[in-house]
């Protein structure tokens, strides 16, 4: 199951980049089996019997027990109901030697259903039942009724059903108007990302539309007005769902699959590989399968490589090379063209049938090879005077005989070449690593070996420069060479030699840092903000008393000055004023302790306005009194 899916993904990514759209979904053999399984489930009523029997017949299979099914149809038939007659008649047509009995009234009932007053579904069922039972019907009347109903029921399902009805009428009837509905309906499809084309009503509506469009086109011998890209997008929509919710959905998918694999105009073709598309010297042949959407091999197809281009160098390796057919699988010996290892972009074309749609497919093929390490030379070079002291050659897969010692005055050097084991061409794989492993401390240091312009790999270790990576731990390090790449079939892990490294000023690290990296860190205790230091209560109380003391002084001074309230007139306004003023001061205290600004302002407004009015009056009275005194005294 994973293989077609992986391939579908690859094909999808390739298809999105390619100019011509190719199907990203189809029914693999296991999908077809699953579909048949769903349709083969036991049926309980006529409708499910119809879906199962007719659906399986479209897929080229049949129900488990045909006799049983036939008996069931006959028993369940209600000769007064149009739906019942439709299901039974259609299902019995799909079973060999199964005939449903007809009464005299049957024809009348069915013909009565064909009128402008019945729904399109009723008309369709009546017409289908009439034609399956071999009863005569007037095609022109049906066309008139359909046209009238389409005008009234303008939804997708109704028009699709009308298209289906038209396939049962005689070819002499005027089906032109109904044929035009295919194009109108296709315009209503929703384009999702350029990959899917479906009705918002869902999968079943889309599948039924595909079935109706192609069946009617075949019946009327007119090419359906669907472009190649639209057909592929419809294929993607209908076959993207691999497990179906209901029998009717499975039935619609089965009908669509049958219509798309065997109509006279458009047959989408699927080109797939068996397993990953890889060739190598041991497996030089590229196998491809060419099938229709039901994964049935196409009878009269020919496969041709239009071009095979290397992805890296863009050079064309193969052009116009045909595949040979063997046991239903197309084969091509790609290694015969002696391609270098790497990825190749293939453009293949399927020919042989003018109905084929999406017959130009792009594939990515990988050519893999084996790598060999040659001319591996290890040496210890003195820094000040580059005399190559000891150069030893080591052959793969053996280990160097002695160990190499390098201290801070010396460099350790490694030269080698990587070649294709089969062709001798120099290779530059993605991964060429040199790994030093200290057995005692568990340290592992990895470096990258780089090729020079002549594709010779060189690696040099400057002991003094690199001591930080080694944490200045002297000791014996085991040296490994690691070579890997996607196109290599034999990645290499080679224990080349032992290297003794001596570092100056050796600090013994307490423990290897990496160990403590993944242990829980020490807890952080949250320190709440310390409240500010307050002075002792004694001091505060003293100063409170001190600050309040000038009030006493004020009272004494006023007394000495002779200030008094002897002139206090007890008029209501002055009483009210003083009471109001006292209330305002009291309100200030209450504001401090209980209220917020809004409440205070509210109370202040009330008390303040009262106090103001009273105060105004009181002060006016005082002013009048004062002027009287001034006037009197002259």
């Amino acid at each position: 199951m994973a293989q077609p899916r992986v391939f579908c993904l690859v094909l999808l990514t390739v298809a999105l980049g390619a100019q011509a759209l190719t199907p990203s979904h189809h029914l693999s053999l296991s999908d077809v089996d699953r579909l048949k399984g769903l349709l083969s489930q036991p049926f309980t009523d006529l409708a499910s019997a119809y879906y199962s029997i007719v659906g399986l017949s479209k897929l080229g299979a049949s129900v488990a027990d045909e006799n049983d099914a036939c008996q069931f149809l006959k028993a369940q038939l209600d000769p007064m109901s149009v739906d019942s007659l439709f299901f039974a008649a259609e299902a019995s047509q799909a079973i060999a030697d199964c005939e449903v009995s007809i009464f005299n009234e049957t024809r009348d009932i069915l013909l009565a259903a064909v009128s402008e007053d019945s729904t399109v579904t009723q008309i369709f069922r009546a017409v289908s039942a009439l034609s399956s039972l071999g009863l005569p019907l007037a095609s022109q009347e049906v066309v008139a009724a359909l046209v009238a109903r389409i005008a009234k029921e303008d939804n997708v399902l109704a028009i699709t059903t009308a298209l289906q009805t038209a396939t049962r009428l005689s070819q002499q009837a005027e089906l032109g108007g109904i044929l035009e509905e295919i194009e109108d309906l296709a315009a209503r499809l929703d384009d999702l990302g350029g990959v899917y084309l479906q009705f918002e009503e869902g999968l079943e509506a889309t599948a039924l539309f595909v079935t109706a469009a192609y069946t009617l086109s075949d019946h009327a011998d007119t090419e359906p007005p669907l472009k190649e890209d639209q057909v592929i997008q419809l294929v993607n929509s209908v076959f993207s769902k691999k497990s179906w919710d209901s029998r009717s959905e499975a039935f619609s998918v089965a009908c669509a699959a049958a219509a798309l694999s065997s109509n006279r105009f458009h047959v989408p073709v699927i080109v797939s590989t068996q397993g990953p598309a890889t060739v190598s010297h041991s497996q030089p042949i590229l196998h491809l399968l060419v099938t229709d959407i039901l994964s049935n091999p196409l009878a009269s197809a020919n496969l041709l490589v239009e071009s095979a281009q290397a992805v890296a160098s863009k050079s064309v390796v193969l052009s116009q090379a045909p595949f040979s057919l063997r046991n239903g699988i197309f084969e091509l010996n790609f290694m015969a063209s002696q391609p270098a290892s790497g990825y190749y972009q293939f453009t293949v074309a399927v020919t042989g049938d003018s109905r084929l749609v999406a017959n130009q497919v792009e594939l990515k093929v990988k050519v893999s090879t084996e790598v060999a390490v040659t001319n591996m030379d290890l040496s210890v070079v003195d820094k000040d005077q580059s005399i190559g002291t000891k150069t030893s050659r080591v052959d793969y897969p053996f280990k160097a005989k002695g160990s190499f010692t390098a201290d801070s005055h010396q460099n350790f050097a490694m030269n080698f070449q990587l070649v294709d084991a089969n062709t001798g061409v120099e290779l530059t794989p993605h991964q060429t690593f040199v790994r030093f492993h200290n057995q005692k401390t568990g340290q592992e240091v990895v470096f990258v070996a780089e090729p020079d312009s002549k594709n010779l790999y060189k690696f040099e270790l400057d002991t003094a420069e690199r001591k930080s990576e080694f944490d200045s731990m002297s000791g014996t390090y085991v040296l490994h060479l690691i070579v890997g790449d996607a196109t290599l079939e034999n990645p290499i892990l080679w224990n080349v030699a032992d290297v003794v490294l001596k570092f100056l000023d050796e600090e013994a690290p307490a423990a290897i840092q990496s160990k403590t990296l993944y242990m829980p860190k020490p807890d952080i205790q949250h320190l709440f903000r310390e409240p500010e230091k307050k002075p002792p209560t004694v001091v505060s109380n003293t100063f409170t008393a001190l600050v309040l003391s000038p009030f006493l002084l004020l009272l004494i001074l006023w007394f000495k000055l002779g200030a008094n309230i002897s002139n206090f007139s007890l008029s209501p306004s002055s009483v009210l004023f003083h009471v109001g003023h006292a209330c305002m001061l009291g309100l200030m205290y209450v504001y401090w302790t209980h209220l917020n600004m809004f409440q205070t302002l509210k109370y202040l407004a009330i008390i303040g306005s009262l106090t103001f009015l009273a105060g105004n009056r009181m002060l006016a009275q005082k002013a009048v009194k004062r002027y009287e005194v001034i006037c009197v005294t002259g």
Binding site: K533, V547, L553, L554, W558, A563, H581, L619, A620
Partner: protein, 113 residues
């Protein structure tokens, strides 16, 4: 030098006690009280620290504001200044004083925390 200072001060005090009316002296006593209160608050802040800084500010500004309003009242009710304040009667000055104080108290209480 100090002699002349002492003589100036004594002359000032003499003029003050004789020439100023009682009403003004009452207001002056009130101003002196406000001044003392403010000074003591400031002293506390210097000695002990600014811990509830908002409270200190509220109290100190209350003293300063009250002092200023008191000074305004004194200026406005001084009969010698009548020429500068023709439209403002004594009662009006007092009413203004009370209104300004209401607003000052509202703000101070809001800030005192």
């Amino acid at each position: 030098m100090s002699n002349s200072v002492i003589s100036v001060i004594s002359r000032f005090l003499e003029e003050y006690t004789t020439k100023t009316s009682n009403k003004l002296k009452v207001v002056d006593a009130y101003l002196f009280y406000i001044l003392l209160t403010g000074a003591l608050q400031f002293l506390y802040c210097l000695l002990v620290g600014t811990f509830p800084f908002n409270s200190f500010l509220a109290g100190f500004i209350s003293c300063v504001g009250a002092f200023i309003l008191g000074v305004c009242l004194r200026i406005q009710i001084n009969p010698d200044n009548k020429g500068d304040f023709l439209t403002i009667s004594q009662e009006r000055a007092f009413a203004d004083f009370l209104l300004a104080h209401t607003v000052l108290h509202l703000v101070v209480i809001n800030f005192i925390g």
